[in-house]
């Protein structure tokens, strides 16, 4: 049975909510032309709503059900404590424009989070305002732009971006008004130093680098890259999506980055919500700090109070208010519970898990870059003796084994990429199960490829026709016209 659309459950006159009676005189309504006559929303009861969305939820797969090794997404367990913390009335029922004396708790939490991110990254300032990773990128790139502009270095309009980068990096660069230059990767999965040298010039504003990169590899020439870019007058932007490999292992600022975004919704365990909300704070070194978006939280040492303040040459605000506060609560709770030692263990176990799985799976599928990985690794879904099988088929078949597929077709430089990030919250048993499933699927591909082509077999729906969806756009429910 497939679940109806909420509108299909509607019946005229049905109600889902009770509201207080009007306790003041009715005011006259303005000119009828300003008012709407029809509000075509559904009419359903509370029980309809609950059943509908509970049933929908059961059609979904989440970390709370099983392993979710979606590469680049750090789908770790989301501690339940954090959900409770974020829902405390004193956090959830607070207005952003209250007098600061009435929100000292919120401000102190933000301040402590800024400090913790600084401690982990080595940056000298952090803005919590950006709402997600890509938002942090735009912020960072605009910050770099503002820096150059402030120095009169206005010709710097190029951003170097490796071919392994996430699509948001080029897109963020475009939004900033700059132009991207793609750099090749070498056969060990590093940025090609030759290609880098070839593109350095006084038009280079900076470089956007993900490290460990999207192959899960720590660039072997990282310090050298940073030196070269800096020598050319450029700045290093860090895409911190892969920070889960580095907590207590290395500080990005010491690795040569000038500005970087964090993903609280990856590294710091806040739930991804089926597509957000995330949170993408940006850290910067002392030269760039004054350009960060604000307001930031500062501490008035004399009074012991916390206040909001705009950095001196801020690029401006990148959204309303102060950022994704309820996400920050969760991330702070996580950092506070684990402490320095716990966070380092997070990265150690994340990297251990990835290497363990890689050591097993490289015997099952091609591993284009065969060297120790960090928190994730990328296999190629090309199976000997099964030329028709694509990475997508393997992924869909994994669904039948009850685990979420890896990321497909990213990074672009690996053909039929299967990007696997187990995260530290998976146990050895869980990894062994995954390895076993993939091994079995590869065998199936060779003997019964139909099993893969027709997969998934056990999901709530069979394989969906994405081409049809794009050709014949149906983006909203509409009543079927009465015949």
């Amino acid at each position: 049975m497939s679940e109806p659309i909420i509108y299909e459950l509607s019946a005229p006159g049905r109600k889902g909510a009770t509201l207080p009676a009007l306790d003041v005189p009715e005011a006259p309504l303005p000119d009828q032309a300003l008012l709407r006559d029809d509000l075509p929303l559904p009419e359903v009861s509370e029980v309809d709503v609950v059943r509908h969305f509970v049933r929908l939820s059961q059609l979904n797969y989440g970390v709370d059900l099983s392993m979710y090794p979606l590469g680049s997404c750090t789908m770790k367990y989301n501690p339940k404590m954090n959900e409770d913390a974020a829902r405390l009335t004193g956090f959830s029922q607070v207005h952003p424009y209250q007098p600061t004396e009435t929100v000292q708790g919120c401000l102190e939490l933000m301040y402590r989070l800024q400090e913790a991110l600084k401690a982990l990254s080595g940056f000298s300032a952090v803005s919590l305002q950006p709402a997600a990773g890509a938002h942090g990128e735009l912020t960072g790139v605009l910050t770099i732009r503002a820096y150059h502009v402030s120095r009169g270095d206005t010709q710097r309009d190029l951003m170097l971006i490796p071919d392994s980068a996430h699509g948001t990096n080029p897109a963020s660069t475009s939004m900033s008004g700059m132009t991207m230059v793609e750099l090749r990767s070498d056969e060990r999965g590093n940025v090609s130093l030759d290609d880098l040298r070839a593109h350095l010039s006084d038009r280079v504003a900076g470089m956007m680098l993900t490290n460990p990169n999207t192959l899960g590899l720590f660039d072997e020439h990282l310090l050298e890259i940073a030196r070269l870019v800096h020598e050319a007058g450029g700045l290093m932007y860090g895409d911190g999506a892969n920070m889960n490999a580095l907590l207590g292992i290395a500080k990005p600022a010491q690795l040569g980055f000038d500005v970087m975004h964090f993903n609280l919704h990856k590294t710091f365990s806040t739930p991804h919500g089926g597509g957000g909300p995330g949170s993408g704070p940006v850290g910067a070194n002392p030269e760039l700090a004054e350009f960060l978006p604000g307001p930031l939280v500062v501490r008035d040492e004399a009074e012991g109070t916390f206040q909001l303040a705009m950095p001196e040459h801020s690029i401006g605000r990148v959204k309303s208010f102060y950022g994704q506060f309820a996400v920050m609560v969760r991330a702070y709770a996580y950092i506070r519970l684990l402490g320095a030692a716990g966070l380092r263990e997070v990265s150690e176990m994340a990297v251990l898990n990835a290497n363990y799985l890689q050591s097993i799976l490289k015997e099952v599928l091609p591993l284009p870059h065969d060297r120790p990985c960090m928190h994730e690794f990328v296999l190629s879904g090309q199976i000997e003796g099964a030329p028709d099988i694509r990475a997508l088929d393997i992924s869909k078949r994994l669904i039948d084994y009850g685990v979420h597929p890896p990321t497909n077709y990213f990074p672009l430089i690996v053909p039929e990429a299967l990007m696997i990030e187990p995260t530290e919250t998976e146990s050895k048993e869980s990894l062994d199960y995954f390895a076993q499933a993939l091994t079995q699927i590869v065998a199936e591909a060779q003997t019964q490829p139909g099993l893969l082509h027709d997969a998934p077999h056990t999901a709530p729906v069979r394989r969906l026709d994405e081409v049809r969806a794009a050709r014949n756009l149906v983006l909203r429910w509409q009543p079927t016209p009465k015949a």
């Binding site: 889902g16 306790d23 005011a27 303005p30 709407r36 509000l39 929303l41 559904p42 709503v49 609950v50 969305f53 059961q58 059609l59 979904n60 989440g62 979606l70 789908m75 989301n78 405390l88 004193g90 207005h95 952003p96 708790g105 919120c106 102190e108 080595g122 699509g167 897109a171 475009s174 939004m175 720590f218 072997e220 990282l222 207590g248 919500g273 909300p277 978006p293 990148v318 959204k319 309303s320 102060y322 506060f325 309820a326 263990e345 176990m349 290497n355 050591s359 120790p372 992924s395 050895k428 729906v461 069979r462 969906l464 026709d465 994405e466 756009l473 983006l475 909203r476 429910w477 509409q478």
Partner: protein
Amino acid sequence: MAYVPHTPADVDAMLTRIGVSSLAELFATVPAEVRFPPIDLPGPQSELETLQELQALAERNIDVTHTPWFLGAGAYQHWVPSVVNHILLRSEFYTAYTPYQPEISQGTLQAIFEYQSLICDLTGMEVSNASHYDGATALAEAVIMAQSAARGARRRVVMSGAVHPEYRATVRTYTQGMALEIVGEDDPQRPLADLATLVDDQTSCLIVQSPDFFGRIADLRGLADIVHAHKALFIVVVDPISLGLFQAPGALGADLVVGEGQSLGSALSFGGPYLGFLATRQELVRRMAGRLVGETIDTDGKRGFVLTLSTREQHIRREKATSNICSNEGLNALAAAVYLSTLGKSGLRQVAELCYHRAHYAAQAIAALPGYEVALTAPFFDEFVVTCPRPVADINAALWHDHGIIGGYDLGQPFPGMERQMLVCVTEMNHRPQIDRFVAALQEVAR
């Protein structure tokens, strides 16, 4: 250690399989000179202690549920039915990623499809995307869409000064590298007919807000024609709750409708996470930023939902994408879908009416106070401007310290010169006794 399931025996077995002798060896590629730096953070602590610490921080804030409250200005206290949070706590929803694997993500996908449908119906538009970070960034993206629709050939943006100041600031931040000329903001009191005269053939879009930042319902009739005569786009920023009562911008010729969806079931949470919505006309869909969910069928012919038109997005189009947005506000969009389903046709209208009538009751009562003035001529929804006998900062301090009331928004903050103007917000959460108490307190603190 918490959240890590590894036993010492597991770690040993895994290291052996990998072929290294210690955890440290796994990090050999990290330059030795910066490897394993000391981290200046406190040690681990238990869940109990952590939650107690957070509870103590939370209790250092004054919260809306314990205080009469008249603050809006872009973030609103509205009633959220209990069902909303119960659905948000379904961990199949909140512990999922963006639905890249549709076969095991039908829950998220259908909910977003429903969200898109609800936003279309509410705004009177044809297409809605899956969300933006908030109202401000939705507006910035709408401006960029307008640029794109004009193929980058038009550099002028006409924006009303009565659009939320933080939205206007965000538009400026987003577009700072795009060499745009943004005009019209200088006088927030400028009549819209006047503002429209700034639209010319170099203009990509006209942006107005209704109810505007000062609470006034704008009469949008005729504006679309002027804008369209110049082949520009008409962008309207709205308060979704007001649409329970007031005309949908789609019926008034808007090309893009954006706004803050926090009121639709998201908590105030000191400013975020909120929900930007963006809806437009069918013909602009390929220029649209953000995710879209579309209906399709599976191999058995059964209805299902997928992310669609991803060719607009950065995974495929990279530097040519319509936007860089990737993670958006999925869970807030789910909240909005649950909220709008629960309230429904009659409930949303009732909420809007409660806001309207209570705000007018309050406005009239305040207007009758000596020393206070309220402009009661222009139609308004649930916010209105009160001219106070003293600076709002002083009035608010007295309201809070002497009466335990959080007053309205101090318009002097964003608008130098308006230090005696207070933006008062009254919603269905402010019952009559609370309003009466506020009015009485205002009288007392008048001097």
